[in-house]
């Protein structure tokens, strides 16, 4: 019987239960309030609907809390209860193996019990179902009790003078606040998970060895010196910015200072298309078109240098995937990030400043160089910083076009690897959560997060300050 309860589909059941409880409570509250708020009744504060909402709220929320608690901790509770009951030889198992075993138990239980030959497994599966049934049943009972308590308490307050609307609106406001707080919860989740896994990693690998080691070989042997990855990331971001910064900046200057409204109306949206193309498409473009082109140019340079006697051996590595290919395409991707924000800040420079410069006889370019750009400089720097942070955190282009080899090489036609490439390489495929190999991905993620956060914070601060200045 209890085992049968273990098969209850809790998600749908709780959803249906909650919906029924809430709508029932709403009608009870509403009918009760309607009794005293008919025509001719005097001094009723809230309309019957609000009384209904109020009762429904107090019925729904406690039950919802119970349901959420089950969703978050139910499974873990069942497992810990089960593992504490397991015979002694299971208790000695390493944690990971036990988890795998419990997973297979859970899977067997999910598929309506185990009917195979393994007696022990079968017994444990049955016990698992029993415990699950127990927890599920008690969750439902608890939810019902909580709902009933809330319902009774709330119903007693329904009275002509009761300010149901204010209470309901207060409840809604709390709900709205919780929605806004999810953003904070996300950040906390990111920081906590990255820190937790990274600390576990640094318990095995010394922090300084990770940060300044020059050999990275996480896949095969356990060498976790991330300096080559930092170098690769820096190199590719640098190439990207060498393209995106001048192109984006000049495009923004041209659009805001020189172009007529018609050209601007066409070019600006087209530039923004660049920002809307998924990065995996850029990666494909880099892999298919740019990398082979760069390779053949590099080979051509090599052969020309050798044939003219300027070099005795190939100067450039000319790899099929290269830092230059990834950086070039990433630069194209980042152009709109630079141009659109710079365009905004240049437009925000008051016209009076320009007029003053023209009145002094300055040409347009002199005005831009000596008046507009200095005035817009903080915003432009902010846009460049945001673009750098984009380039550092960009994943797909480098995964597809930068390569996998961790090395420090100034040759742009050599393949380099980056932080993001290694994170993807370490975490795709079958991963176990406890090996230093997997944990190192989180340490890399932490570095990535901290660095981009640093750039973002400065940029946002600058933008904010700047906005205040001319508002």
């Amino acid at each position: 019987m209890v085992q049968q309860l273990g098969h209850l589909p809790m998600g749908w059941l709780m959803l249906a239960l909650l919906a029924m409880l809430a709508s029932g409570a709403f009608f009870v509250g509403r009918v009760q309030a309607a009794r005293f708020s008919g025509p001719g009744s005097a001094r009723v504060h809230s309309r019957p609907n609000y009384h209904g909402y109020y009762v429904a709220m107090w019925t729904f929320v406690p039950a919802m809390v119970v349901a959420l608690g089950y969703g978050l901790f139910g499974d873990g509770l069942v497992r810990s209860m089960l593992s504490s009951e397991l015979p002694a030889n299971f208790q000695d198992m390493p944690r990971v193996e036990l988890d795998v075993y419990l997973n297979s138990i859970a899977r067997a239980a999910f598929h309506h019990g185990y009917s195979g030959a393994d007696r022990v497994f079968s017994a444990i599966t049955n016990r698992f179902l029993e415990l699950q049934g127990l927890i599920k049943a008690s969750t439902i009972v608890l939810a019902l009790v909580c709902a009933a308590t809330g319902f009774l308490l709330a119903r007693r307050r329904v009275a002509p003078g009761f300010r149901a609307r204010n209470r309901v609106e207060g409840g809604i406001e709390i709900f709205l606040f919780l929605c806004a707080a999810i953003a904070i919860a996300t950040t906390i989740g990111i920081v906590a998970s990255l820190l937790y896994e990274s600390l576990r990693f640094f318990a095995e690998i010394p922090f300084w060895d990770f940060l300044f080691g020059t050999r990275w070989n996480a896949q095969t042997s356990a060498e976790f010196g991330a300096l080559p990855l930092f170098f690769g990331t820096f190199m590719i971001a640098l190439i990207a910015m060498l393209i995106a910064a001048p192109v984006g900046l000049f495009a923004a200057i041209y659009l805001s200072e020189y172009a007529g409204p018609k050209v601007r109306g066409w070019v600006k949206p087209i530039l923004e298309i660049l920002a809307g193309i998924p990065t995996v498409v850029y990666g494909f473009f880099a892999l298919l078109v740019v990398a082979p082109a760069i390779r053949s140019v590099a080979i051509w340079i090599n052969t020309t240098l050798i044939s003219t006697g300027l070099a005795s051996e190939p100067l450039l590595a000319a790899q099929p995937t290269s830092a230059l290919a990834a950086g070039l395409v990433m630069g194209i991707m980042v152009i709109p990030f630079v141009s659109s924000l710079s365009d905004d800040v240049i437009n925000a420079v008051p016209q009076t400043l320009r007029d003053a410069a023209y009145a002094m006889g300055a040409t347009k370019s002199e005005t831009v160089k000596h008046v507009v750009l200095p005035a817009a400089l903080p915003g432009i720097i902010a846009s460049l910083l945001l673009a750098v942070s984009r380039a550092i955190g960009e994943t797909m282009i480098v995964v597809m076009a930068a390569g996998q080899r961790a090395r420090i090489s100034a040759d742009p036609t050599a393949d380099l690897t980056t932080i993001t490439v290694q994170i993807v390489a370490l975490l795709t495929g079958e991963t176990e959560f406890d090996s230093p190999k997997t944990l190192s991905a989180f340490a890399l993620g932490l570095v990535l997060f901290v660095v981009t956060l640093f750039f973002n914070l400065i940029a946002l601060r600058v933008v904010q300050k700047y906005r205040e200045k001319y508002d």
Binding site: T187, L194, G393
Partner: protein, 526 residues
Amino acid sequence: MTDVAPAPFRNEKALRRLKKRRAADARFRLYGLSAIAFALLALSVLVASIGFQAISAATYHKVGFDVVLDPAVIAPKGKDTPADISRNVDGFYALIRSNLQGTFPEAAEDRMATRQLGDLVTRLAVLPTAKWVSENPTQIGQAATIKVPLSDDLDLYLKGAVSKEFRLRLGDISAVTEAAPRQVRLTGDGAFKALQSLIAVQRQEVGDAVDARSILISAGSTTGRIMSLDADAAEVTLLTGSATDFSNVRPTARMIELPETERNVSDLQIAWTLALKDKGRVSRVPHTSLLTHTDSTYPELAGALAAIVGSLLTMMVTAFIAIPIGIFASVYLEEFAPRNRLTEIIEVNINNLAAVPSIVFGLLGAAVFLGFFGLPRSAPLVGGLVLALLTLPTIIIASRAALKSVPPSIRAAALAVGASKMQSVFHHVLPVAGPGIFTGAILGMARALGETAPLLLIGMVAFVADVPVGPTDEATALPVLIYSWSTNAERAWEPMTAAVIVILLMFLITMNGIVVLLRRRFERRW
């Protein structure tokens, strides 16, 4: 003093300076123009290269086989239930192979050739036919025309993507003499003159490498390889067909630039394909299987259906979570939040989250949703959750802008007739801001649709052969499919990947088109 001193700004020096300054101005303007030209050029090269690739995948070649659906082969005793028939790849493939061997009896001569003949069509290509027959059991025993896709390499050859090829018409052949079985000597007055000069020209360009190239000669459905030639005669090894064709039809010669050892298709396979084409059995048809098939290890059989459905499921989860929460959060921040430390932190936080690299959200998903909560790997549910967190800041920022643009007079009017703050927001401000909020939500969804990296980290990169039906099934998404196809080595995957990119871009264009329309329709200045 008769000399008037030149005006101080009109002297030589000043004029030269002015000229220099104007030149600098023109240069500056040119930099701006070239920056824009560079960006536009990059965009058009990107679009053109992908479009060009995708067009070649828009159609593909199918071969027709007139076979009798022999029950002894496709539904032998004990394996004749519909389920068995739909899985009987060997049986159906045997039909095709015996048909091919009947058409090209020369392949039976050695095992290598037999295998190459079988490679014209991938074994698994018969699966749709098997399914069709299992659904229409009355067809068993009947004659039917089965159309199956040609193997990817030969498809590429027919599309001209395997190698550069020089093609020219030869002169009339007057005599065909058979020196040995399958060895013939073709003679015709000056018939091979053009070919000879082509070889000479090529020899000047590439040297003796020209000798490694195959020169095929075909007439009708007969094809042979030219072993040696002079202006009036050629020694030909017959690959397929009968030599008499050469005296009936004016032959065509093909010089294939890539030597046989460096390509995936042999001369023999090319000869057979040309013969099939000559017999009208090869047809170029729209590549609909790209939309109706799921992933496969064979490019000609692969399709994006599972990924499209996976993407839709993921987007559904994302939309259900991110849009309501985003709207509520922005309503709170814009309308209710008191100006205090906490709301300030929330705001900085949201702006920051919008700029956090997407892969970090993938790490969050891997650690929290998979590791801590134990949700299933590769599931649209987890993907949707991660993408929801990722798009939430975008949606909140856009919705706040929309709410901000609602004039305060509307709020004041609502409050003045006795509405509470909550009523004024939900009954008046939110409906007015609706189109703007919806626009932001669509833009957020468009961003989520193109995200790849976080989905890789939560395992949505798996090979998925079944169309997922629920949010906890194993699934993949369109951008991830693009990534995994682009890592495949075979050439045929390139156009296929480009085609999937076009599908993805279609979705994105539609979403952005809706945004533009909404803006046009509802844009209001207060």
